[in-house]
Amino acid sequence: MANAHSRPIAPHLSVWRWHATMLSSILHRATGIGNYLGAVALVIWLVLLATNSEPLVGFLFEGPMEWVTRIGLIALTWSASYHWFNGLRHLAWDAGTGFDPQGSNLRSLIIIVLSVIATAAIWFAALTGGAS
């Protein structure tokens, strides 16, 4: 135990200046966990629909819970969008390209902006093009 704690550890998060790739790496994990929770919620919704559980579906999507659920879904849309865009970058990294520090920082910011734009576009489509 004492030995394990006296060994050098890395990275020392507290002594590093924050930079975009660090944020994007942490966000990839965080959004991955968020998407996990979102998938659990999505399957629960499917089961509620399949078992004709109208009172519970109504509780989630109508009345006082309507906007709580909607904000959760908007957060999930952003989380999935970010993980999707940054996942493409991970595939590029696996192929051996895109390791330059300056380009990586720039692409981190582009991915964050793109994920916000995608979320806005999907919700604009859902709230105007959808039936309700």
Partner: protein
């Protein structure tokens, strides 16, 4: 001549790596490629379907296109997220009993959710 270069830790624990990492790495990437294709199709068509209104959502999942795209997306997503959370647990949880319990729970949850999703989609579509 016969000097050993093995470390003391290596001598008491000679098993080394589990040799299962490459399969995990490839499975994570293959499911990522599947999701890169099907996830946007699923999200955009569901968003335009009129969901979460119950009637609109039911008719989307009941349509052949909606049912197949949903099943493809959830299958790839549940597989991908099981692999992903496994790595998160292995990275951050160091107590063996807790780690083992969470890894088993992760596997059972992903498999159970997939069966529930497949059952629900088949019920809605057939």
């Amino acid at each position: 001549m016969s000097q050993s270069f093995r470390t003391p830790a290596k001598r008491i624990n000679p098993h080394g790596a589990a040799h299962a990492g490459t399969g995990h790495f490839i499975a994570q990437r293959v499911s990522a490629i599947a999701l890169a294709i099907v996830l946007p199709v699923f999200v955009v068509t569901l968003a335009l379907s009129g969901a979460p209104d119950s009637f609109a959502a039911r008719s989307y999942f009941a349509s052949p296109f909606g049912a197949i795209v949903s099943l493809l997306t959830l299958t790839a997503a549940l597989y991908h997220m099981r692999l992903g959370l496994q790595v998160v647990v292995e990275d951050y949880i160091h107590t063996v009993a807790t780690r083992t319990a969470l890894l088993v729970l992760n596997s059972l949850l992903a498999a159970g959710l997939w069966l529930a999703a497949a059952y629900a989609l088949l019920t809605l579509a057939l």
